[in-house]
Amino acid sequence: MMSKIGSLRWCIVAALLCGMYGMPPSTAGEETATLRGRFLLEGPVPARGKLTVNKDRDVCGVYDLRDEQLVVAEDGGIRDVIVYARKLPGDGSGKEDAVLLDNKDCRFAPHVVAVQPGQTLLVKNSDPVAHNTQISFSSNSAFNEGLPPSGTKEIKLKKSERYPVSVSCSIHPWMRGYLVVQDTPYIAITKADGTFEISGLPVGKEVEFQVAHPKSKRIDEASVGGKATKWKRGRFKKKMVAGDNDLGDLVVMPDQFK
């Protein structure tokens, strides 16, 4: 899985990106740091079971709906790993924009959504059937409201949530998504190829990062640049330098997702 081709490709991508970020920081404005990396799963790519579509089959049955608990690309890239800066609230800018959680093709799109307390989460139904949105918060008040076709709901949360909380639709029991509520703009969710990038981080400061995943809640062990590393409670600290801070490949063993 840690194939040469995979890492080679990564080097190229990294080189390109480094090129971009390596440009002399513009004369005006402050320097910032960017954290990046790629999460890879050791071993074979886990199969994703077909979901049982037992309701509204004429609408939802036409999609090839698959389990999204652990989505791994051909080359091992892990989707939906969440990385964020702890105790680094930012200046509140960006909070005005709503974050979208769509009910589309009888699944939650995207599967994992990050929102800050005080920011609007816009839940939308793009399907021709009724959905409902049940969110099992633990710090905020539980939520379960109906969502008719083309309906929308705006939710504003008061508090951060310790773990990704599950979002489900009780009408369509196979539907499941996750919501990450953290009081920081410095948050990223890995893309389908396992890569993430958090930009705009303060320079010269030691920042503590949390690594989470909906299935395992925490990821607390990975091989970083070939070196086995333990992250107690899924956390690591890193002093940020101006420009690029590349963690490289972060290889996770499958038992992290048991």
Binding site: R57, S141, A142, S170, I171, R233
Partner: protein, 464 residues
């Protein structure tokens, strides 16, 4: 500890076979067992609040293991804050009066005198006042700790309420808001129809009041414990000192008597109590009804039922997708409630039977009841657990049923009744239409099933 548990089980054994048929006999059996156990054998084994091992299991699955020392720290904190089943919030009882004066519970706005009448072993004093009400009337179902796991619980369906999540179903408030005092009173006086939860109508009012206070106490206690366990598993320490965890109460309030600000997360007990104090703000006031429910034969009612039927099967509401095309509650039976969140988290589609067995064993080993999925109500029976008045059903449909899959069709903005125009109220339907759905639901037990499922004009999507 161990022998204490055995002692508990013994009352259970006396009670179980008869529990469902003759709750009264069972009550007596339990109180006799209690008395007997006080006289012989069990004197030294006072009932204790059982630590929430299920929650510890959930949290350490998500983070780090909770060590024995950490567990002890949580237990000691709980003892200092809430006391014991015999002495609520009176952990240092050498000088009873001094201890009471600084009772942490008083600070949280509990009526300690009421708690004392409910707590402790059951007996009648010289003046004929009943003490130990909770253990006399409730503990064999709801458990001494309020975990919904008393000796008879495993034999009941639905299971008795586990108060420790702070989640209640049959209430007048919206969403996850706590029940009001009146709501709890209604549950105690009427019981929960169609379940084993009995009516306590025959108890004098002061005893009902004392029991309500004790339910709030057990619930707040349980919720505090859960939050402490969450914090401990995630951070490896307590959120603060005992007085920080308690937090200040009463909180500063505005003109309308509503607390201005929510307490900080570290002030765990105050945060929980804030939710209880804020309950009245979330009461759902319905818009005025377009029909007169006292006249079920009127044309207006017939029209309302017809509109309600369309709505029930409409693609906006899709009530039939759970309650079934003939509303017999057979549309969907594979979801779990919050009381089995550890099972629900495995996913409804999980076909890894080995993993499921492993997890179910893991949790049942620490005291969880066998997980059961929740069935939507059979609406043909005309038995409504949350009350049969039209306003009860309006609130059920407006707000859904807390803790389970049934969703709210209204939103928090619209709870103020006619004061808020429909254009601003949000929700899946206009609130007036909810009354039509109520009309239809109330008509269902009388509509002959033999006619087959009604025409579903609104829905193109449900299989016919």
């Amino acid at each position: 500890m161990r022998s204490n548990k055995r002692c508990n089980d013994r009352w259970g054994a006396a009670c179980q076979p008869r529990a469902e048929g003759w709750p009264d006999a069972c009550l007596r059996a339990v109180s006799w067992a209690l008395l007997a156990s006080l006289l012989v054998g069990c004197q030294s084994e006072v009932p204790y609040f059982r630590p929430n091992l299920v929650e510890i299991e959930i949290e350490q699955d998500a983070s780090e293991p909770v060590t024995e020392d950490q567990q002890r720290l949580i237990n000691e904190t709980m003892l200092a804050l809430f006391g014991t089943p015999d002495r609520p919030a009176n952990p240092f009882p050498e000088d009873a009066q001094a201890a009471d004066a600084q009772s942490p519970l008083r600070t949280f706005g509990f009526d300690v005198e009421k708690l004392k009448v409910s707590a402790g072993p059951a007996y009648r004093d010289a003046e004929g006042n009943q003490h130990g009400l909770y253990r006399l009337h409730c503990a064999h179902c709801h458990g001494v700790t309020g975990g919904g796991d008393g000796p008879t619980a495993a034999f009941l369906n639905p299971y008795p309420r586990d108060y420790r999540q702070g989640v209640f179903k049959y209430k007048s408030t919206f969403g996850a808001a706590k029940p009001t005092h009146e709501d709890l009173k209604r549950v105690l006086v009427n019981g929960v129809s169609g379940t084993s939860m009995p009516s306590f109508r025959l108890l004098p009012d002061n005893e009902i009041e004392a029991l309500i206070e004790y339910v709030r106490y057990l619930s707040a206690r349980g919720e505090t414990e859960i939050k402490l366990i969450e914090y401990m598993a995630a951070e490896g320490e307590m959120p603060g000192s005992i007085s920080e965890i308690a937090g200040g109460f009463p909180l500063p309030v505005d003109d309308e008597g509503v607390a201005e600000e929510e307490p900080e997360e570290e002030n765990v007990v105050a945060s929980v109590m804030y939710q209880w104090k804020a309950a009245p703000v979330s009461v759902i006031h319905p818009v005025s009804s377009p029909v007169d429910f006292s006249d079920p034969e009127s044309t207006a009612m017939a029209e309302s039922i017809a509109r309600g039927e369309k709505l029930f099967y409409s693609k906006n509401l899709q009530c039939n997708s759970c309650h079934g095309d003939s509303a017999q509650g057979d549309g969907q039976r594979d979801k779990y409630t919050v009381w089995f969140k550890w099972r629900e988290d495995l996913g409804t589609n999980n076909d890894d039977q080995a993993e499921i067995n492993r997890v179910v064993h893991q949790f049942m080993d620490v005291g969880a009841l066998k997980p059961r999925t929740i069935y939507p109500r059979n609406l043909r029976l005309g038995v409504y657990r949350g009350g049969r008045r039209p306003i009860d059903l309006y609130r059920r449909i407006y707000s859904g049923i807390n803790g389970g899959p049934m969703p709210a069709q209204g939103t928090v903005t619209g709870i103020a009744g006619d004061e808020v125009p429909d254009s601003e109220a949000g929700g899946s339907v206009r609130r007036e239409q909810i009354w039509d759905v109520v009309s239809y639901v109330l008509s269902l037990p009388y509509e002959p099933l033999s006619q087959g499922p009604p025409q579903r004009q609104g829905s193109k999507y449900t299989p016919r």
